[in-house]
Amino acid sequence: MNTSPITEPTEFAIEAKGLSKHFGNKIAVNKLNLTIPKGSIYGFLGPNGCGKSTSIRLLTGLLEASEGNVSILGSPLLGHEESLKKRIGYMTQKFSLYDNLTVQENLSFVGAIYGFAGKRKKNRLEELLALYDLEKQAKQFAGSMSGGQKQRLALACATLHSPELLFLDEPTSAVDPENRREFWERLFDLCATGTTILVSTHYMDEAERCHALAILENGNKRADGSPQALMDAMPATVVEVSGNKLRQLKQTLTQHPEILSAAQIGAHLRVLVKKKVQDPLNFISQLSNGRETVLARPSLEDVFVTCTGDRYVD
């Protein structure tokens, strides 16, 4: 036993340096650096094929990295994959439980795999069925459940052994907004008990709930930080233009090199102007023949647009 004062607990659940993965010539993840503090909810935000799943597979030890170092919960991933497996949970993007087993049987199987038996297993299963509102479906085949129910079952299985670190790969892609809220309530509950959660998504509203997030594109990390910090540090100003013939205006505006994007939202045109433009209101006003312009609060979507696509700002 170590009698010296408790050693400083590692404060990071995940630390990655220069993590890369190549599939042949294709670079799926390019020199990813991450530091994710314990007890937080961290998001991967990015479009299809940007490398979210690949990054998660690298961090869980499912794929071998081409380059880079990863340490998970204080120990290097390389060489500790097996011992770490008891401490992490993983919910795959594609439903990965057995369609022709019932909810109860699936949970029971996963429980046995994690070494639960007898009374302890029974209690844990009851607890999870109640927590994830699956009691009525206990005897139903997993294959015949709705998307949201499947998602809850998958989360129940991934958290059965109370992991310290939980990876969720697009957990809410088949879930309606109401159930998504519910789902996120559960995640915050887990977070409150000290679980670190890494969640990938392509929904802005979900990304906004994370303590911190990374925006990924084509295997590169374009930006990271808390949603607020990202919005504050956004290298562009948001200007809303109102008036008529917005579609033509959009055409002319997007051709200008100082304008990152223009998107129609209802009766407004939301224009992102590079920060280096001194007086954006006046600038847009002139470009749009004196239409009414107002400054708007940046949203996470604006951040996303600013740092992805071919006009992204470094």
Partner: protein, 376 residues
């Protein structure tokens, strides 16, 4: 460790029992194959369709025809006026052979040394008739060949002094010479090869294909646990199939089971393990269920053709015998026939048993080395 193996085992059994198609196949494959092979495979050909060109048109020629029909070897289904016509029919495949009886057949018959005591000079002997055979099928050819020396005493109204044979043959174990007696135990070997390899090779691949593997390998399951748990249910399946084939074989075809139950069980288990590990090795190579199916067929064909199931092992060239020796099924084919038909004990068949054991150990080592707990 065993709690996880048990969990996988139970899970696999449950899935198997719910997969109606697979479950049906486990029972239907042995039954249907048994019927097919038991009734259809017969190496002594009978009722071969043949034609007749009878230029003699005498009561003797009709008597010859009747004598041939009485052997049940051939059925005369057509008559032709000339050899030319008959040859066309053979080419078309309507008949497999034709009997040509020349116009002077009666004279030839009575001048034949066998039936004519006065004429001892065999130099003058002419054959009574001629068989023209489609020689591409060797089984048919050899059946027709056996008709060469068919005695025609009754036709010639003559009794000959029978020559006594040089050897006497005593037939042990299958006195009635029924092919099915040899087929049924052999079928156990072939069907087990097919189902055991196919089920295991696709069992692991299925997990990857349906995405279950991605979750499984982030759990503390070890590859050896996964493998044992996944193949264990199929040991039961294999034993069930052995029981079905042997008992239905006994019931329908009266194929005896002479050997002891323990020897039968022991050899079956050894072979099931060897086949299952072969399937496991294949599953570490295949990426999709289709690929695992193709590889199974790749193994299955030599298993049927070279194992001694269809053709006697001893008659094969040495190279083929080497290939056959490498296949577990050849050893089991020997063992199960010896045990079921000749009451051999497992100890008497030590060499074959040892090979199956070694094959299993080697297979497990290779499969565990090849199976990596990572994706891609």
């Amino acid at each position: 460790m065993w709690i996880r193996v048990y969990a996988i085992f139970i899970k696999e059994l449950k899935q198997l029992s719910r997969d109606r198609m697979t479950f049906g196949m486990i029972i239907m494959i042995p039954l249907v194959q048994l019927m097919l092979f038991g009734y259809a495979i017969n190496t002594d050909a009978r009722h071969i369709n043949v034609g007749l060109v009878d230029l003699s048109q005498t009561s003797e020629s009709r008597a010859v025809e009747q004598a041939l029909v009485a052997t049940q070897s051939v059925d005369f289904i057509a008559r032709y006026r000339s050899i030319k016509e008959a040859e066309v029919a053979i080419t078309k495949g309507e008949i497999r052979a034709v009997l040509y009886l020349p116009a002077d057949m009666t004279r030839r018959l009575f001048n034949h040394p066998l039936y004519d005591n006065k004429q001892a000079d065999s130099a003058l002997t002419l054959p009574i008739g001629q068989w023209i055979v489609d020689g591409s099928d060797t089984v048919i050819t050899s059946t027709i060949r056996t008709l060469r020396n068919m005695p025609l005493n009754e036709v010639a109204n003559h009794t000959v002094t029978r020559s006594s044979p040089s050897f006497e043959v005593v037939q042990y174990f299958n006195p009635e010479q029924r092919t099915v007696v040899n087929i049924v135990p052999g079928l156990v070997a072939v069907i087990l090869t097919m189902t055991m390899i196919l089920f295991t090779s696709s069992a692991i691949v299925r997990e990857s294909e349906q995405g279950n593997m991605e979750f499984l390998i982030t759990t503390p399951v070890r590859s050896i646990e996964l493998m044992i748990g996944k193949i264990a249910p199929y040991v039961l399946v294999g034993l069930l199939q052995v029981a079905i084939i042997l008992s239905v074989g006994q019931w329908l075809f009266s194929v005896p089971i002479k050997g002891s139950f323990l020897s039968l069980l022991g050899s079956s288990i050894l072979f099931i393990f060897a086949s299952l590990t072969l399937g496991l090795v294949l599953s570490t190579i295949a990426k999709t269920q289709l690929q695992s199916m193709q590889m199974t067929i790749f193994i299955l064909l030599p298993s049927i053709l070279l194992s001694g199931f269809m053709f006697p092992y001893d008659a094969m060239p040495v190279a083929a015998q080497w290939i056959a020796e490498a296949l577990p099924v050849t050893h089991f084919m020997r063992m199960i026939r010896a045990i079921a038909l000749r009451d051999a004990s497992l100890l008497l068949l030590g060499k074959d048993a040892l090979w199956l054991g070694l094959f299993t150990v080697g297979g497990i080592v290779i499969a565990s080395l090849r199976f990596k707990k990572t994706l891609g």
